[in-house]
Structure formats: structure tokens, C-alpha cells
Symmetry: C2
Subunit: 329 residues, 2 copies
């Protein structure tokens, strides 16, 4: 199968919103007048972001999901994306499944594949995604204010727990592993929530490297600090997908420290962490209802730089054990 | 050196035209009202698009040049780009040189680095570039008309000759190899020519895989054929950089067949091949003068599908030996 046949068979589809799609030197986008274009790129590498034997449909889903999650974190509406793909070989069955997972998620978000590149090489997937957002309405990392409350969407830690189980460092019942693995391999980008939080949240980020590390980017960009209540909130939303799948919350034998590790430092959750003024909790909850995504209040922004964790007894917890992932550290 | 330090040190710079640059979940572009956004992605892989020991400054240049060349082929004005980079290790000296080559070319075209991704992995460089073009003015592959003349910018074949020499399949004097290698490793995207050809050319493509193959994309998209005069035009512009560097045209011992192979099938030239109405030759030449890029008329668009080559005696030449590169063929 040649390069151009491969593109035609699996990736070339008519576009409706773009002015020109796959098949020329460039794609042409026609942004709505006055809108800003939000742009993000993510590169997924074999052995680092996924296992080589991962279900290709799940990989296609995840490759786009992590990019849509960046749009969500900015409150942008998805428009289009490009796909650059290095493949060890052109395997039609693999490509069919990969394209299926990728394009199903794209269709669910009205996000059109408009162009890209294919080449032979070690498996590498690079997607660049485009969304639109009204000027001044994008959610940035730099907008958190002292006194704001800190929120997080959905649940945290399931993806990390799946990774630990797949690496043989944790044991899970089959149903629980399946649920956790779903969260790891088919994350749900919080696109509707991000848009609903326009004008409500003061800052936002998606949790890809771990809550503490990612929240740290908001604190640094906003020049503030935060206090998180680990027991009251974070322990309750940790590893919920897994707990639920086993027939109820937390009846798995997952100890407190593992829950904290996974919730605070586990990456790949693709939930949104965001801040909003303390007086706007009702608006936050209304946005969450509108988006169909639960949110939980986990702490407060403070003037003193850095992160402080407290447990249920109000005792300070050390932050260092929960430091997050760095590709080159 | 950590991932975020690496980005800050080498790739984070203030933006002037974009609304938001490197450092948040998304970059924000503010396209001029009414303009369309041209988008292109290219992925460069170690061992396939470059040798592992290539000068990193040249690699940085080339990675952006091949993307700017796609904008040129559409007649778009460069605005911004994202860079996704998989690196075996974070080597500051390598990164310094790579970023230097990349950003020097970016600055020369007013094209801002607005975002991207870095990860550990086999060396892979994926750039997505954005340009703007007035609606209806983009040069497409599909606009060639019967009777149009076929043109090509600059010279052809130098890059391929360098590749042959570096692989030990051709011998070149040192000065000639240096000139050819410059064309291979530091191609010049024909950005000004592409813009000058708006409203003049009826179709365009950049020559990345070889003239015949790339021109074939224009013919297929436009549902036409073409006749190229190999002797009168193509042989004269083949391997000119190398010939000139050695003190004059064609005094190297490069036989006719090698010249034809390199000109017709050699990739990596990043010249523009384009068509224009026969009555508009003066406008084409004026656009070329304005852009400071020589152009040569090499053939004519015909109704009969397919490509036909003729030599100086008017004899038909076979096309097959000059078929172009396919990553998976």
C-alpha cells in the first residue's frame, strides 16, 4: 500500500466547515469573523505514551482526545485537526482500526481532519488541533486570583492505577482493570465543560501530568499559591471509575496512600483543574450540570506561593512524594 | 535539564502577532478579519528525512523550510507555527543549534513559534505551520487548464545529487558537494514567489518528492495531462547550484542521464512547479522578478491525461525511470 493510497483510503474525507481539506499542499480554514483560533499540538510516542500492543482504535481515540483536552482547558470549540503519522509499516488492519477510533471521536466533537503527513519511521503520532474562542474569553493558566476556589472535574487516579496494574505493580480484579484501562486508553476530553466555564472560571488546565504538577503551572502563571484539602475532596474522587466498576465506591483494597498518589500525581486523567471566584460556586455547578460533567471543590487559592496539602485532621501533608511526571527529569 | 526548562530556554519567546504564544494549553491566533488560514504539517524522521549526524542548525532550518514551502505552494503569507519534538535525550548544545537554525528562518519570514510539545523518544520533528491568504486566492493543485504553460522556479536536482554523493553513489569535488549539500540541508522555501503568483498562476505545488511525481498531483487534481520539453528547459536548470559552484554551468562530469534523473525524479528541491495561462508569461516573469526567484517554462498542459516527455530532437522519452519517491512503496 503506497503513501497516497493510505491517505485516500483511511484519512481523506469530505469537509463541511473547512474551506479545503486533505489533498493539497495546505488545508484552508475559514474562522468565523472576529473569533480567535486556539491551537495545540501533542506528540505520542511508542513505549512512552502507550504500549506497542495497544488496541489501535483506542490509540486513535487517545491521540485526538489529549489534543481536544487542551482545547477544553482553553474553553475553545473544536474545529479541525491535522494528523502526522510515522509508521513502521503500512498495515491496513491496524490503520483501519486506528482511523476508526480517531474519526469517531472527531465526529463526536465536529472536529474535521483537514490535513497532515505520513512517513515510515518508529511509531509516532502528532496531532495539531484548532478550535475557536471569542477574543478575551479563552481560559488561561494566568488568571487565578487570591480567594478563588480550586475545582477539578470528574475523577482522578484511575488512569495511573491502570498503568500500575499493567506494569504488574498493582493487582486489580478483571472488571476493575477493564474500567481503569478504559480511563487510561480512552480518556474523555472535557470539551463541553471547558466551553461552559467561559466567563465563570478564572483559570484552567487539563490534568495530563498529574494534579499537583499541572495545578503548579496555574500557580506559577498566576503568581499565587494554593491549599488543597486532600481528605475532604481529593480522596473522595480518587479512583472512582475503578471503585464503581467493582460494585461501589472504594470497596477495592486500595490503600489511602495509593489513592493519594494516583489522585495527586497520576497523569493521563485529562480532567480539568480550574479556579473560580468563591462567590461563583453556583455558576460553576450550573456549568457542570450543563456539560454533564461532575465537579468537586478541592481547595483555595492563597497569596503565599507554593502548594500546601492538608489531611482530614487539618495536618499538613508533604508535597514532594506527589511530584508529577517530567519527560526528561 | 527538565522538559519545562528546555522549552523555556530554547523555544519560549515573546510573540507580536499571535494573541498568546508558548506556555499555556493552547496558543491563540488572531487572523486578520476575512482571511483564510492555510495549514500544513510535515514530520521529519531520523534516518529517512535526514542523517542522524546532520548539523542540528541545518536540521532546524529544514524542518521549518519544508513547511514554509507548503505555504508558498498555496501562496499564503506565513504567520505562526507549532513544533512537536521527540528527542532521545535533552542535549543543550544540540538544542541550542537546532533552535538557532529554526528560529533564524522563522524570523526571516515573520513566522512565530507559538506552541508545541516535547517528549523523549526516537528523534522526530513535527511542525505545523499557519499562514493567511485572502479567500479564493490560494493556489490549489486543481486549477490547471488545458493550454496553460508549466513553469518551475530555481533549479532542480541539486539536493538529489548531494544525497547520491553522501551515500557514496556519486563523486563530487569538495566545493560542488558543499553547494549541493547546502541545497539538500538548507532548502529555500519560495515564499515570496508563491505570494507573487496569487492571481497569476492557475495551480501550484512544491517539489518535495520529485518534479514528475509532484506535477502528477496537479495533473490528477486538475484532470489534465502535460507535455514537458526535457532538453530545452529541464536539462538547463538541472543541478545548477552544483555546476555554478564549480566555476560555471555543467563543467562537472555529470552525464545527461544523471541530470535528467535528478531533475525529474530527485526530491527535496522545494522549488515551486506551477501553471499559468499561455498569455500571462509576462505576468509570471514579473512575479518572479518581484520575488527575486528565477523561473523557467518547461512545458504545456494538454487535455490528454498523463505526462509526456520529449527530448531535444522531439523524440518521446519514457516516463517510468523518473517516477518519484513514495514512503511506503
Amino acid at each position: 500500500m503506497g503513501e497516497f493510497d493510505l491517505i485516500r483510503q483511511f484519512f481523506q474525507r469530505p469537509v463541511r466547515r473547512a474551506a479545503l481539506g486533505v489533498g493539497d499542499d495546505c488545508a484552508l480554514l475559514a474562522p468565523a469573523p472576529g473569533m480567535q483560533l486556539a491551537v495545540s499540538s501533542d506528540m505520542l510516542v511508542d513505549g512512552r505514551h502507550f504500549f506497542a500492543d495497544v488496541d489501535p482504535a483506542a490509540l486513535g481515540h487517545k491521540a485526538l482526545a489529549v489534543n481536544l483536552s487542551d482545547l477544553a482547558a482553553c474553553g475553545a470549540r473544536p474545529l479541525a485537526f491535522t494528523l502526522a503519522l510515522a509508521l513502521p509499516r503500512a498495515d491496513p488492519a491496524w490503520l483501519q482500526a486506528f482511523a476508526g477510533g480517531l474519526l469517531a471521536l472527531a465526529d463526536a466533537h465536529g472536529c474535521e481532519l483537514v490535513g497532515g503527513d505520513t512517513t515510515a519511521g518508529p511509531l509516532n503520532i502528532c496531532i495539531t488541533v484548532f478550535g475557536e474562542v471569542p477574543p478575551g474569553r479563552a481560559l488561561l493558566r494566568s488568571g487565578a486570583q487570591v480567594g478563588d476556589e480550586v475545582w477539578v472535574s470528574g475523577t482522578l487516579g484511575d488512569a495511573r492505577l491502570a498503568l500500575e496494574a499493567l506494569r504488574g505493580r498493582a493487582r486489580l480484579p478483571a472488571a476493575a482493570l477493564a474500567a481503569a484501562r478504559q480511563r487510561l486508553e480512552r480518556p474523555t476530553p472535557r470539551v463541553a465543560l471547558g466551553q461552559a466555564l467561559q466567563g465563570v472560571a478564572t483559570s484552567a488546565i487539563d490534568v495530563s501530568d498529574g494534579l499537583l504538577g499541572d495545578l503548579g503551572h496555574i500557580l506559577a502563571a498566576s503568581r499565587v499559591g494554593a491549599r488543597l484539602d486532600v481528605s475532604a475532596a481529593i480522596e473522595l474522587i480518587a479512583i472512582c471509575a475503578v471503585g464503581s466498576s467493582a460494585g461501589g465506591h472504594f470497596d477495592l483494597e486500595i490503600d489511602l496512600e495509593t489513592r493519594r498518589q494516583c489522585a495527586l500525581a497520576g497523569g493521563d486523567d485529562y480532567e480539568l483543574a480550574f479556579t473560580a471566584p468563591a462567590g461563583q460556586a453556583a455558576e460553576v455547578l450550573a456549568a457542570a450540570r450543563q456539560a454533564g460533567t461532575p465537579v468537586t471543590r478541592i481547595g483555595r487559592i492563597e497569596a503565599e506561593p507554593g502548594l500546601r496539602l492538608v489531611d482530614g485532621a487539618g495536618q499538613a501533608l508533604p508535597v514532594r512524594p506527589y511530584a508529577s511526571f517530567d519527560h526528561f527529569a
